[in-house]
Homo-oligomer: 181 residues x 2
DNA sequence: GACGATACGGAGCGTACGTTCCGGTTGTCA
DNA sequence: TGACAACCGGAACGTACGCTCCGTATCGTC
């Protein structure tokens, strides 16, 4: 992974960039040959660097999820946890809805990518924001991080079904705020 | 459609029944050959009755949606529209989540099946229940039938992501109840 | 600059699946 | 019951795509 030939490292980066773009636009359905062509590389080269299309996809998705987690960690110390949490929740949904790779990763196999490995960072960071928002009474207490991830999945589906309808996500947010019943 | 040979009519019914079962279990991904085998019929016979796999799928899905619409019409005259509406909303989600054909139909092409043709009956009936629930103040007034369909899609995604977690749908229901903001 | 190792490209393989085609079969009607 | 049309089964076709293979090109080193 470190002592690679210079051209190999270059090509690996090109493949990753092309995959990022292609998967984000068309999701997992994009043929691997297209990614190779977009990267200016042969199909064999892709397989030299990633054992399968699935592995490449996961690499791309996990990288994006890690960015979400990073952002969440940066907000963990904010002084108004309620607003911060809800803003973050909405922002993640909006960003993810623009990225078909994320949507497909969630749909496939029940969001396996969100659950395993690097997705764990996201789970932890999101859970922390939630905990703080609950502590100040901004969010109902009968939910946990797993529930939240499921809600994100649902909101993504809504967003894909009828894009841009603002108040649907707000309904969920209102539901999160409502007193626990 | 009417003056068919007896065996043709029989086979058509067998294909439809098999497709219903297979699509409900495995969604659109089930190979057409499997449906034919399940129906005890050759692949050619399936194509004699339905121009494409997609058409067969739509026929099955629309039939199911029509059942939902029927049920909704039967509830239109109830004396407690608030409860009736929310119960119906939850029940549709629960039923649909058990049927991968419905889930796939919603995912594919933004729920095209729900929007066109027979799906219209569902839209109308659902809208009527909603209107009555709003009239008695049980549901916030800033949503319409299209929003509801989108919410159903989202709840289905949640259900598939983390099955059986009751209170996620309840969050949405609470959001629906919440005062309009 | 030459040599071995490493990486590249893209043709080609295997598979899966939607769809079509046609020789045989079965229902219908006179 | 005979004959024609409608229908059936399933082999075969075309396509798409993930993945592999191997002759060739490129890189790093001495």
């Amino acid at each position: 992974m470190e002592k690679m030939r210079a051209d190999a490292r270059r090509n690996r980066a090109k493949v990753l960039a092309a995959a990022e773009e292609a998967f984000a636009a068309d999701g997992l359905a994009v043929p691997l040959d297209d990614i190779a062509r977009l990267a200016g590389v042969g199909a064999g080269t892709v397989y030299r660097h990633f054992p399968s299309k699935e592995a490449l996809f996961q690499a791309v998705v996990l990288e994006r999820i890690e960015q979400f987690a990073e952002e969440a960690r940066g907000l963990a110390a904010a002084e108004n946890p309620g607003e911060v949490f809800l803003d973050y929740f909405v922002r993640v949904i909006k960003q993810a809805s623009l990225n078909r790779a994320i949507c497909d990763a969630l749909a496939e196999s029940g969001g396996h990518a969100f659950k395993a490995g690097a997705g764990d960072d996201f789970r932890v960071a999101l859970g922390e924001l939630l905990r703080r928002a609950q502590a100040v009474g901004a969010v109902r207490k009968d939910i946990d991080g797993d529930d939240l991830r499921a809600l994100i999945v649902g909101c993504l589906a809504v967003e894909r079904y009828s894009p841009g309808s603002r108040h649907l996500v707000r309904i969920v947010v209102d539901g999160l705020r409502a007193s626990s019943s």
